[in-house]
């Protein structure tokens, strides 16, 4: 092996003479930088949420909290809008995920059956919606016509089924349920319903878990449908409450200098603390379950890639 390497080395172009260790070192350096670039902002937000806002504003917080305080969290946890948003998000996420998973599994199964007349036409029609849709305004008008504005249905229904997920489900059934299995069941007198509910669904556990994960994260993080379809602040999901606190307030406060200065400064001071705390409180749940979710997402990425 060494002699071959030696013989080749003389003819290699310059770029290929970079030793393998050089590649390894470069990779480690770049990846470590990337890891730090992802982790440090998150870490900084955690320590800033526990620090005296004056120390944060003065640039004295780098590695450890300065002037340790729980004030921000106390205020956040005492706020009814945050709790209501949290409750709404739990409700919307649960309902939307259940609907999505049911539609995708049942629809994907039906479309996977080669003996379904019209299957090809239906699939093509569905795929068309992937690349061309009516757009935001007609969809809004449809939701409005259905009388869904300001109801939970406007949040959970319009985005329930993604074509891509439906295709993943269809491929899953095509690959994992051999025709022989169904034929055998049919010979034994099982109807399509019976086969679906007692054989296909139990065998599709990994698909169901994957779809549930994808939709849980998607629905928990969604804000746009709520923004356009909900007017009643009591129905806002957490993301919309967050948006109002994190993003809107900042802009409002820079132009809104009314009131006496002292109270304004105080509001600003605590406001910053609350923002850092809100980011932590709302990110923590999803990052805490991430190691568990990641496994399934990787599987999903694989499914998608295999399909491609």
């Amino acid at each position: 092996m060494t002699s071959t390497t030696f013989g080749l080395r003389a003819r290699r172009p310059l770029a290929n003479r970079i030793p393998d260790r050089g590649i390894t070192i470069t990779s480690v350096v770049i990846l470590s930088t990337a890891v730090a670039a992802v982790l440090y902002p998150l870490y900084f937000i955690v320590i800033a949420s526990l620090s005296d806002p004056a120390a944060v504003a003065g640039g004295r917080v780098w590695l450890l909290p300065q002037g340790f305080t729980f004030d921000g969290y106390v205020r956040i946890l005492a706020d009814s809008a945050v709790w209501r948003g949290f409750g709404n998000s739990v409700l919307y996420t649960t309902v939307a995920t259940t609907i999505s998973v049911c539609l995708i599994v049942a629809g994907g199964y039906a479309l996977s059956r080669k003996d379904l007349p019209g299957r090809r036409t239906i699939t093509v029609l569905l795929v068309v919606t992937m690349f061309f849709d009516g757009g935001m305004i007609p969809r809004y008008l449809v939701v409005k016509d259905l009388g869904m504005l300001d109801t939970i249905w406007a949040v959970v229904l319009p985005g329930a089924v993604g074509v891509w997920n439906l295709i993943i489900a269809r491929s899953f059934f095509q690959v994992s349920l051999p025709d022989e299995l169904r034929e055998a069941a049919q010979l034994d007198g099982a109807s399509d319903f019976r086969f679906f509910f007692t054989i296909a669904v139990p065998l599709a556990r990994s698909l169901i878990v994957l779809m549930a994960m994808i939709h849980m994260v998607f629905n928990w993080n969604a804000f746009f449908d709520a923004l356009i379809y909900l007017n009643d602040a009591d129905k806002y999901p957490l993301q919309l409450v967050l948006r109002n606190i994190l993003i809107q307030s900042d802009l409002a406060s820079t132009g809104n200098m009314t009131g006496d200065l002292e109270s304004y400064a105080e509001t600003q001071r605590v406001g910053e603390l609350i923002k850092y705390g809100m980011i932590v409180v709302s990110t923590l749940p999803i990052l805490a379950v991430m190691p568990f979710l990641q496994k399934h997402f990787t599987k999903g990425a694989l499914l998608g890639a295999v399909k491609s």
Binding site: T24, F44, P138, L141, I247
Partner: protein, 337 residues
């Protein structure tokens, strides 16, 4: 004469009958046509339970995808809520003309295309490079750690990422401006200065989304036969050569599919973030077609006008998708359609 006239008549009838008899013979191959139709009906009837399973999904698509698609016609009408999609008066291409001749038109197109292109130019290659590097490393623990950390931000919502940008980029108290302060740079109000909108948008997209695509590429890389690497190593191929001649060709089909998908959504993706990052001060760069549709349609209730703009965007997008799909097919890579 009568006989004469009759005889041709007779022959005609004979011919006609012969012809009539011949017709089925000549059509024999297509004769079974009615049978499959009956068969098909039977098959449809036999599959009724499958249709029941499919029905809710189909209903969803009809209501939330095809009905809005049908409603796109208000782009050519003056929509009013009383007359609905089909009853409102027809105005032809008026809204499109108004949009194209409006003073924002050029700026909107420019902002949209520049943002989408910059975003793609960074967000597309970065995950490939990261995946190749992670794949190259031999330490399993470092690999897993890197993968988990880089993947994490894709679980964080756009609202929170933008919220983080607001606090970290704050001119008075933000981390970034404190860091810049060390380098002697005056504080920059990133979200108020139009020229900073695109860099902030693209950088945060890479921060948030690169890890997700990286995992897809890593999955594809894991599918490459290790024997190829072993053989190449025995033949004296360096790491770089193996990356170039084994890894990259191995994931090329995935790259090509993801590229077409990315281009197909070029003008749609990331609109939520643009909306969240938009401030009145940076609107000259952050106003893209989609945010303008939102503003004109939902905030100012110009339904027809904004639908026309949205349709314009969709058609532009579809054109891009088909073009790139065609290019991919020409290069004999996997194409989507």
């Amino acid at each position: 004469m009568t006989a004469r006239t009759e005889s041709p008549d007779l022959t005609l009838t004979a011919e006609a009958t012969a012809g009539a008899g011949a017709v089925p013979a000549s059509r024999r191959p297509t004769m079974p046509a009615p049978a499959p139709r009956r068969n098909r009906l039977k098959r449809v009837r036999r599959a009724w339970q499958l249709y029941v399973l499919l029905a809710p999904t189909l209903l969803y698509f009809v209501v939330f995808k095809f009905w809005p698609m049908y409603g796109v016609q208000i782009a050519f009408r003056n929509f009013n809520p009383v007359d609905g999609f089909t009853g409102s008066p027809w105005v032809g291409l008026d809204h499109f003309r108004r949009f194209i001749s409006s003073f924002q038109f050029e700026q909107l197109i420019e902002n949209t295309l520049l943002l989408a292109t910059f975003n793609l130019a960074f967000l597309f290659p970065v995950p490939i490079v990261l995946a190749l590097m992670v794949n190259h490393l031999s330490s399993r623990r470092f690999k897993a750690f890197t993968q988990t950390v880089l993947y994490a931000p894709s679980f964080i919502s756009t609202v929170i990422v933008v919220g983080m940008l607001y606090v970290l980029l704050s001119p008075r108290s933000g981390l970034v401006n404190h860091l810049l302060g060390f380098a002697g740079v005056e504080p920059i109000f990133f979200l108020a200065e139009p020229e900073w909108f695109r860099p902030v948008y693209v950088a945060s997209s890479v921060w948030q989304e690169a890890g997700f695509s990286m995992v897809v590429y890593l999955a594809a890389l894991a599918g490459i036969d290790p024997a190829l690497h072993e053989a190449a190593r025995i033949d004296g191929a360096s790491a770089l050569q193996r990356i170039r001649h084994i890894d990259i060709p191995g994931i090329l089909p995935v790259i090509s599919i993801l590229f077409i998908l990315a281009v197909g959504n070029l003008l749609n993706i990331g609109f939520e973030k643009a909306l969240l990052l938009q401030t009145p001060l940076n609107a000259s760069e952050s106003q893209i077609i989609q945010t303008y549709v939102y503003e004109a349609g939902l905030q100012q209730a110009q339904f027809s006008y904004s639908t026309a703009i949205g349709l314009f965007n969709s058609v532009l997008n579809l054109g891009l998708l088909l073009t790139f799909n065609w290019v991919a097919r020409r290069f004999k890579q996997n194409s989507l359609i």
